[in-house]
Amino acid sequence: MAWVALIPLFPALAFAAMLVMSRDMRTRLRWLPLAAMSGSLALSVAALLAVWPGGEEPVYRASFALAHLGGAPLAIGLRVDAVSVVMLMVVTVVGVCVQVYSLGYMHRDPRRGWYFAVLSLFSAAMLLLVLAGDFLLLYMSWEVMGLCSYLLIGFWHEQDGPRRASIKAFLTTRVGDVGFAIGLAAMWTYAHSFDFAVVLHDTHWTAAAAAVVSLGLLAGAMGKSAQVPLHVWLPDAMAGPTPASALIHAATMVAAGVYLVARAMPLFHAAPPWVLIFVTWVGASTAMVGALLAMVQYDIKKVLAYSTISQLGYMFIALGAGGEGAALFHLVTHAFFKSLLFLGAGVIIHATRTQDIREMGGLRKVMPWTTTTFLFGALALSGVFPFSGFWSKDDILMTLYARGEWWSWGALVVALLVAALTAFYMTRVCIRVFAGRVCSLAREGHAEMVVPMAVLAAITAVIGFTSPAFAAFLGEVRGWPDLGMAVTGSLAATAGIGAGVWIYGFAGVDTQALRRRFPRVSTVLDNGFYFDLTYNRGLVEAFMYVAGVLARFDARVVDGVVNGAARAWSRASDALWDFDGRGIDGAVNGLGSLVIRAGARARELQAGRVQGYQRLAYVGLLALVLFSVLTSPIGMLAAAGCALAVLLVVGAIIVRGA
């Protein structure tokens, strides 16, 4: 079954091919990732059939040793089991839908070739992540996804907003990823392996070690899945193209954290009980914060972003209660209906040229397909029977109920409250957008945008009924929903929808008046519970202050030293220049003029007159004669005699003169 490696390889190859193309070529071949993704989808279906009828045991495992560390092999590998196949199906189906939709949505952007290439890389990373058989490969794909997320959020990097949002997303998830890396290091220290089977089943964990590792993994998951307090990046991430938001920031990447915790669940069970209780409360607070903030947003994508945060919190609640099957089922249903909602929002934004729901209205008349499919998604999100959200939400509520401890009761109450709030804010959006009078010249989207939405809507409508089969596929036992819990959940949804219809529909309550009446509440909500403000004050500004101090140090001390050295060097050079000019040039010139002067003297000897040469010859002859005479004894005697004679003559002349 080694062919499963082709599933992530197809989009990866498409990306590699597009990476080396020119922009024109990329734009022309923008269907290439779609083709690759379709191939992956086909192979995923084959993998699903191969795994059928499911269970906990993997049907295929392969590993490849990268190196040996301290005697233990550092291996990466693939693993195909029920969970990975389910994730494969989600990623490929949503991926294909988003690719088709993007062809319509991005049809005017000059850089759309690059968009499709990055989307392809993201798909490859996500597919590799769910196929990974060990935490190391999972972590690698995890980081590649983070890169793609950064690139796609900042796709329109000419504008300030997307650029800032991409950096914020990258840095915020990085905080969690540091925890992830620490968890992995601790895992290696204790288990000497990253393999799922070894780490999760063959290793006997002490409670303390399991706590360290699982908290590390949880930190990574909280960053990626936008859990409080690391959720702040996801609303800003909506600055990217809407289909990318649908695929990455709603359906797949943000769910990777849930997938990670679900995978590592045996580790969480080995840890002290408070770790899982902590997971539940992280999820509960996230679900609550997300739902409350979604109510006050006016940007349709931000509503959906906070809703995603809230639903991811829901999944964490389920994980904390030990219901990884319920969490994964909610992940699947959420992936379909939330990507559907995002795609619908994309069409609406395209048609109305605004993201503000206050400026929309009456779209049901001009955009019937979008309205219908969006309503499918909204009903599923609100948990209305028979749409998929109802089933998965019910599974989570049942898991909490079955747990039957004080904290799971508390979480159950929060979950029901969040369900009601979810139904309420979705009703608010639907009424604002689709009801009322027509206030724009909107038209229905292109076929390549509407058809994927219709496909997703169909899946959303029917997938809920697979709930027991899904559980069986994962190797769990779960029947049809308990009637009491189904009624309770539906009541919560109905209450939310009813309140929404009453406030925004029939009664037409002035929400601005409500805001004025509760100014403190509305300020807190408008500021998103002050998370961003706290981070800005506490982290960003502190960091900027330290950076400023360092910059001044740099400017004064370091630059001073450098400039001083330069100045000293310059002075030394000047001195050397002077020495060069006076000393060396002087020596050279002096030598030159000496030679010239000597030459001038010497050339007088070479005047060209025969008699001058003769004189020299005579002087030379005289010198030779004198030399030979003076060096012979008789000659010396004669010379002495001559000298005496000269002295006598001179003396005589002097005497005579006197």
């Binding site: 070479q606 005047a607 060209g608 007159r609 025969v610 003769q614």
Partner: protein
């Protein structure tokens, strides 16, 4: 008082010095040639005197002197011809102004 070899040698040395002085200091090429003749004759005088006083049997000195006189006559002829040729080219025989050896 007999005239000894020292007197002849002294006369020869005097002649040679006069010739040398003339050769080194005269401006006219003709005068220089004449000075050269003086020096040649000083040598001839020495040859004849040495031969007469120290080897009276052999006449080698006298013969050599006669030979030199013939050669010197030829040499003067050649020298005067050169001077004439020089005069024809340079319109002068003043040695100070003939400095083409300078290059």
């Amino acid at each position: 008082m007999t005239v000894g070899p020292i007197a002849f040698m002294a006369l020869a040395a005097l002649l040679f010095c006069i010739g040398l002085f003339g050769a080194l200091s005269k401006k006219s090429a003709v005068l220089v040639l004449m000075s050269l003749e003086l020096m040649t004759n000083a040598v001839n005088l020495n040859l004849v005197a040495v031969s007469r006083f120290f080897t009276p049997v052999s006449m080698a000195g006298q013969f050599t002197a006669a030979f030199i006189i013939v050669i010197a006559a030829a040499e003067v002829g050649l020298g005067l011809a050169l001077v004439l040729a020089l005069y024809r080219i340079r319109r002068t025989v003043e040695l100070d102004r003939i400095d083409r050896l300078r290059g």
